[in-house]
């Protein structure tokens, strides 16, 4: 029998850490498990300017503060701890962690967030770090005075493309549709920028080069005509996918793989809650994840209380 907790939280992003803070402060014995780094996607944001009550700071700073708060209330946080198995049904739920064994709990909060969507091409992996990047702020300065490509058509893609013009001599935005999904103001800003060029309704065919990226090959969705774009860098911003593969067949999810949860964050399995970017919802912000984490924690506390009340004396 492994170590017992009242609640296990899967994921240490803003939703998971918030749940940990609320649970631990309520003296609920809580374990947070994350296969990666505490903070989740929040650490991808260099500047967070719209988190109420906090002046502009980095996502990493906010995550470190949340982590300290959770630990200060007695929450145990395990990072870099891949989950190798789980049972979310019944009274004795358990989660198995690589090299650590099984941890048991009466309730589980799923808050595994999302991961950046990749194109899924072999050549994308081959040039990662030698031309392909998912972080303009991290790697933009490697491409000073060079021609680069930015793939995507949402807010992130266009904002990052505009930001990359600080370094690059030319930025070609390649998008799969004829229209951008980004908000009009950022589309206008990109269109006004003389360094930015556009290739719309294109499929990405291949990334080529010897020991580093040299060309991005695309093809028109309408005519099939191929275009070879000389580029030493390519930044990919095509959104996120929910990190829910481990829950497939266990928890109800939609066709996009997002978990279905009600307003109290109950999933399809009693005693299992969902919080943050992994669940079906329209808006994904740090603030909405924090709200989800709060509700999931309070719902889990209710669940534990009801369970205790119904137990024979």
């Amino acid at each position: 029998m492994g170590e017992k907790y009242d609640v296990i939280v899967l994921g240490a992003g803003p939703a998971g850490l918030t749940a940990g803070i609320y649970l631990s402060r309520a003296r609920v014995k809580t374990l947070i498990i994350d296969s990666g780094t505490a903070g989740g996607q929040m650490v991808m944001s260099y500047n967070v300017a719209n988190y109420p009550g906090v002046e502009t700071t980095s996502g990493w700073n906010i995550s470190q503060t949340m982590l300290r708060q959770a630990k200060a209330f007695g929450c145990r946080v395990m990072t870099q701890s891949p989950v190798t198995g789980m049972n979310l049904y019944g009274e004795d739920k358990w989660v198995e962690v690589e090299d650590e064994g099984k941890f048991h709990a009466h309730a589980v909060i799923t808050a595994t967030g999302g991961v950046p969507r990749e194109l899924g091409m072999e050549s994308e992996q081959r040039f990662m770090g030698t031309g392909i990047s998912y972080c303009a702020t991290c790697d933009g300065d490697f491409f000073t005075d060079k021609e680069i490509v930015a793939i995507g058509g949402g807010n992130s893609a266009l904002e990052e493309a505009v930001g990359l013009t600080k370094y690059a001599s030319k930025v070609t935005i390649v998008h799969e549709f004829n229209e951008f999904q980004a908000q009009p103001w950022i589309v206008e800003e990109a269109r006004k920028n003389e360094k930015i060029h556009f290739l719309m309704a294109q499929d990405i065919i291949e990334f080529t080069g010897k020991d580093h990226l040299e060309e991005v090959i695309v093809a028109s969705k309408e005519t099939g005509e191929r275009t070879v774009i000389p580029a030493e860098g390519c930044f990919i911003f095509i959104g996120y996918v929910p990190n829910t593969a481990v829950f497939k067949g266990i928890l109800e999810m939609n066709e996009r793989g997002e978990l279905i949860a009600d307003r109290q964050m109950n999933t399809s399995v009693p005693g299992v809650f969902a919080a943050g970017d992994l669940r079906e919802k329209r808006f994904r912000q740090i603030t909405t994840s924090v709200a989800d984490g709060t509700i999931a924690a309070l719902s889990a506390i209710d669940y534990l209380q009801q369970r205790a009340d119904s137990s024979p004396v």
Binding site: T37, M44, C138, F143
Partner: protein, 113 residues
């Protein structure tokens, strides 16, 4: 200035000392960015599991950073962090951009076991 729990390699003398006086060394050279932070975190987690390896970080823009930026193995790298593995002072592996725990332990097991 890196804010990690790893020991830092801040100067040329630190760098020389760590690679010349230790058999197995892993240095992650980066910034406090989203691609670098997970690698530092993994290294912190692995320090106990790999007592035979010396784990260090280095500020990419700091005074010692050029030691790694100028390595031939990093010539084509353009994704942070640059992570270098040394055996008896010689580079035996080098990676660019974010790496996961499995990728890192594969190199540690292959080169330092």
């Amino acid at each position: 200035m890196l804010r990690t729990n790893l020991k830092h390699t801040d100067t040329d003398a630190d760098y020389k000392d760590v690679i010349e006086n230790n058999e197995n060394v892993m240095i992650c050279c980066g910034r406090m960015g989203p691609m670098c932070l997970p690698v530092y975190d993994i290294m912190e987690n692995l320090e106990e599991k790999y007592p035979n390896v010396v784990f260090r970080d280095m500020d990419f823009d700091g005074p010692a950073g050029y030691n790694i930026r100028s390595l031939p193995e990093c010539r084509r790298f353009n994704g942070l962090p640059f992570t270098i593995y040394y055996k008896n002072g010689k580079v035996v592996a080098a990676t660019t951009s974010i790496q996961n725990k499995k990728q890192i332990t594969t190199i540690l097991d292959r080169e330092f076991s």
